[in-house]
Amino acid sequence: MRMLIILVLVFTGGYASAHQWTPTYPKLKPSHIVGIYTTKMELFNARKEISYYSIGVFDKDWKKVPFVSTPSLLKVRHLDKKLVEIYLHKRDTKRAHYICSKSKILSSVRDPSIIASRICSKIK
């Protein structure tokens, strides 16, 4: 019953102005290039005031880990989904801990209080 309430909330009002980044626990797999590992993440943007999201990979101490994605600054229209491929060098796979997406606020936005959202998935 509780799950039904959650799903109703998520699928009705939940997308009014939401940011979603899945899966929660991505797994790195060898890519078609030797020594490079990859995973796919999905970003859903239901925040009307936000059009850009940055991607970041971090270790457990929140230090940046080098990575390549397509691209690292994403333009995602309102109510649009985007699949992001993340590529990491084999030597960085052990220390990479989190893959995060963060909303980017344009400098032209002059709202009195702005909310920046960041969701981080943990690499398993």
Partner: protein, 166 residues
């Protein structure tokens, strides 16, 4: 005759039975959804203070977290410690205070979020140990120097809402 009728009825009912057992499959995956429920507004009850507290003319920013699976994420909310845009404030320092409270929740048990929260610097971290939806009220207050009036102009600040996988 009776046996033939039973066989015939069984054959005719077979397609109906087949359609009745068509499966519907679905997956409920672990995820965290961050939703901006209410954008905040700084009220200016006196020349020396900007605050989001509603009794002082402000509007509290409210952020909703939807958690599909318990114990998969931590919510981390940081209140502002600087303005992203403002008139020149070079004359003195801005003093910031802020707090975050889980106010509305889809499950009464979520009141433990407030009990188990950890506060450090300008950040409050809540272990999201129960699945459901929870609304966080964020208050932010800024004063300028010692009883100094804020210069006229528009002010903006950013609240950061994070969802970190455990």
């Amino acid at each position: 005759m009776k046996n033939k009728l039973i066989i015939l009825a069984t054959i005719m009912a077979a397609p109906v039975l087949a359609t009745a057992t068509t499966p519907i499959s679905g997956t409920v995956a672990s995820k965290c959804i961050v939703t901006t429920d209410t954008d905040g507004v700084y009220g200016n009850p006196s020349a020396t203070k900007l605050t989001t507290v509603s009794s002082e003319g402000g509007v509290l920013p409210i952020i909703r977290y939807d958690i599909i699976t318990a114990n998969a994420y931590n919510a981390r909310i940081s209140t502002p410690i600087s303005f992203t845009s403002s008139p020149s404030l070079a004359g003195d320092v801005v003093n910031w205070t802020g707090s975050t409270v889980a106010n509305q929740m889809s499950d009464a048990g979520m009141s433990v979020f407030n009990t188990n929260k950890v506060v450090y610097n300008n950040t409050t971290e809540f272990p999201l140990s129960i699945a459901g939806s929870v609304w966080f009220d964020i208050s932010s207050e800024a004063t300028y120097g010692y009883n100094k009036a804020f210069p006229a102009g528009s002010y903006s600040a950013v609240v950061t809402a994070e969802c970190i996988a455990q």
